[in-house]
């Protein structure tokens, strides 16, 4: 049984402009201890999907459509009582966010914000919680943890705050950690440190990691498997190696092509043309076709399913190119 099993998740938002289908039929699985990367541009529904798992979608305007399922450890999270969900949050599933500067409460000391979780989920007394909190700060690499414990967020740098967020998230030894672009808002030099910290802690505690990022470089370094999202849907899944070396979906290819490699400073980067369309009106047919250089009539006529790339394997892609009917068609110039 997978640790996390998301099936046909649909999270819609009611806006003035219409219904925004931010997450529109996402299915994915995550085994215990595994690292899964979720990749895609901004506006592809990655964050909304992560928030849906923890039940943090504000409603209204958000709503998880009936028929969706999120099973954690065999338990259906969309049906549990709110009290049970709160027991899971911060305890069995933790989350860290993109903006460390705004994700901590400015008027409470960081120690207090760590202590809060320890006292809530582990039932520690104030003194025990402080000791455990200071130890956590030390574990995430904060120097002088005893003094830092009583500091306020505005007295710390973004990198330190993200370490504190990690400490809070790890305080109850969760089985699953969701990290939503944990390094995007940080300086480049800090990014690597935070990523290393995350990975080492993950290995130490044996937890599963759901890493949301738009950076394929990060994925290459950290992840076992990758889910590529576009337009609120999964467009390609596979192991990191397969995805990076043989991307099947033109979107994944585009993401890879726009990545600067070391040494090829003379090579021009190839960004994907255009931008992610609005979640209120995804294009008919394939949602990527407006930006796809391979699109043909069939892409406009109907939306491809998530098709297995090789029968029986775990690889799949949502593209007519991998459909058996189309395999005979010669697509000259297709990069592999």
């Amino acid at each position: 049984m997978p640790l996390l099993e998301v099936t046909d998740l649909r999270t819609y938002f009611t806006t003035d402009a219409g219904v925004a289908r931010a997450v529109d039929g996402v299915s994915l699985q995550l085994e215990a201890g595994e690292t899964l990367g979720i990749v895609g541009e901004s506006g592809c529904g990655k964050t909304v999907m992560a928030l849906s798992i923890l039940g943090l979608i504000p409603s209204p305007p958000g709503e998880i459509v009936a028929g969706s399922s999120i099973r954690f450890n065999g338990e259906e999270l969309l049906e549990v009582k709110p009290a049970r969900l709160r027991e899971i949050r911060g305890n069995e599933i933790s989350m860290i966010f993109q903006e460390p500067m705004t994700s901590l409460n400015p008027v409470l000391t960081v120690g207090h914000q760590i202590e809060e979780v320890l006292r809530l989920h582990r039932g520690l007394k104030r003194r025990e919680a402080r000791a455990a909190g200071v130890a956590l700060l030390a574990e995430v690499g904060i120097s002088e943890p005893d003094q830092r414990y009583d500091s306020y967020p505005h007295q710390m740098s973004g990198g330190m705050l993200q370490r504190i967020m990690i400490a809070i998230a790890l305080s109850c030894e969760p089985r699953l950690l969701i990290a939503d672009e944990p390094t995007t808002a940080l300086d480049v030099t800090i990014q690597a440190q935070i990523l290393d910290l995350l990975v080492s802690l993950q290995q130490k505690h044996g937890m599963a990691l759901l890493l949301i990022t738009h950076d394929l470089g990060v994925v290459a370094e950290v992840c076992d498997r990758v889910v590529v999202m576009y337009g609120g849907q999964v467009v390609e899944t596979g192991t990191t190696e397969e995805i990076l070396s043989h991307p099947k979906h033109p979107y994944t290819q585009g993401l890879l092509a726009s990545l600067p490699g070391i040494g090829d400073r003379d090579v021009r980067l190839n960004p994907i043309p255009g931008t992610v369309p609005s979640a209120v009106d995804w294009p008919e047919g394939c949602r990527f076709r407006d930006r796809c250089s391979f699109a043909w009539e069939r892409c406009a006529e109907s939306e491809p399913d998530l098709l297995p790339v090789v029968a029986g394997a775990s690889r799949s892609a949502r593209c007519w190119l991998v459909h058996p009917d189309e395999s005979s068609i010669d697509r000259a110039g297709k990069p592999t």
Binding site: L51, L54, L56, P60, R86, E87, I88, R89, G90, N91, S94, M95, F97, E99, T102, S103, L104, N105, P106, V107, L108, T109, E116, V117, L120, H121, Y152, H154, M165, I168
Partner: protein
């Protein structure tokens, strides 16, 4: 903090100057109220000298400010008592009334604002917004009269379960009551005036808290608090509220002048022996020292209130520190 206190001194001095010149440059002769047909011009002149009105304005100003620095507010023209004594007697009454009112107003307003923000767009939110707008737009003296009419007079006429005394600070037989009954009597007398003052303020505070709270609950750290598994009351009251209160505290400073204006009406409607009533009466009597003293005390209370707001600001928001 000390710097702030020192900064308030020129402010008070400036206020005192404005008060002095507004009062003293007004036409009319306060000595004339002692005039009677048997009086010779010499006697009238003597009265003027006694009142210090024979001196030119700038001399009187210097004298007044000088006395002020020594804590001397002069003698009342009418009751011949030191102004300070009169104020000492009446100020506590006003403070009890306004402190109760502002306490009730902030408690009620903040609670209502939170509920409205948390249940945004609900029926309760819309109804509270509309009702709040009406109270916000209401002259406090009219609200006070309506309270007297309904809870004092109609309640008495109809022998309702609950009735409130329509005026005064205590009953006629106050001196003969037991200590418990005394407290109850004072509270009953306080109820209507304090509520009339508080409701108008609370409406404004609720509006402000609502919008401030709405802004805060959209922020990242509130999401973090929820992601930690904290219960909704903890998220709202511990994490969101303290942040939402930061702008609401400025209202304390802003509302004080408004509150003291309100006491002028409320004390007059409820015959509450306080500073507001004193100032109105002394204006009608042209009792210059009392007008100046009373107004100055009001203005100083506003200045002090603003300092208190500054301190509270620093208490609630760790990002602000006064050295």
């Amino acid at each position: 903090m000390v710097r702030r206190l020192l900064g308030a001194i020129p402010l008070v001095l400036g206020i005192a100057t404005i008060i002095f010149f507004v009062v003293n440059l007004a036409p009319g002769d306060p000595a004339l109220r002692f005039l009677n047909p048997n009086m010779t011009p010499e006697v009238l002149e003597q009265i003027r000298v006694n009142m210090g009105l024979d001196q030119p304005v700038h001399i009187r100003y210097v004298r007044w400010i000088g006395a002020l620095a020594r804590g001397d507010l002069g003698f009342s023209f009418t009751s011949n008592r030191p102004v300070l004594d009169i104020i000492k007697e009446l100020l506590p009454n006003t403070l009890v009334l306004s402190a109760t009112a502002i306490g009730v107003a902030f408690l009620l307003g903040i609670l209502l604002g939170i509920v409205q923000a948390v249940r945004q767009y609900s029926l309760l939110d819309s109804v509270a917004s509309i009702v709040g707008l009406f109270f916000y737009s209401m002259p406090s003296f009219w609200l006070a009269l309506m309270m007297v009419l309904v809870f004092g007079l109609f309640a008495y006429q109809g022998q309702w379960f609950i009735q409130f005394p329509p005026s005064g600070m205590q009953s006629v037989d106050y001196a003969f009551l037991s200590p418990m009954a005394k407290v109850q009597d004072r509270l009953m007398h306080l109820a209507l005036p304090a509520t009339s003052l508080a409701l108008v303020l609370a409406a404004g505070i609720a509006r402000y808290t609502r919008s401030s709270m709405l802004e805060v609950i959209r922020q990242d750290f509130v999401r973090t608090a929820r992601a930690k598994g904290l219960s909704e009351p903890v998220v709202i009251f511990k994490h969101a509220l303290r942040n939402a209160l930061i702008p609401v505290i400025t209202l304390l400073g802003l509302y004080l002048p408004f509150l003291f204006s309100g006491t002028v009406f409320i004390e007059s409607v409820f015959a509450w022996p306080g500073m507001g009533k004193l100032v109105v009466d002394s204006i009608l009597e042209r009792d210059y020292p009392v007008i100046m003293g009373g107004t100055l005390i009001f203005a100083m209370m506003v200045v002090v209130g603003n300092l208190v707001a500054d301190v509270l600001y620093a208490v609630v928001d760790p990002r602000i520190r006064y050295d």
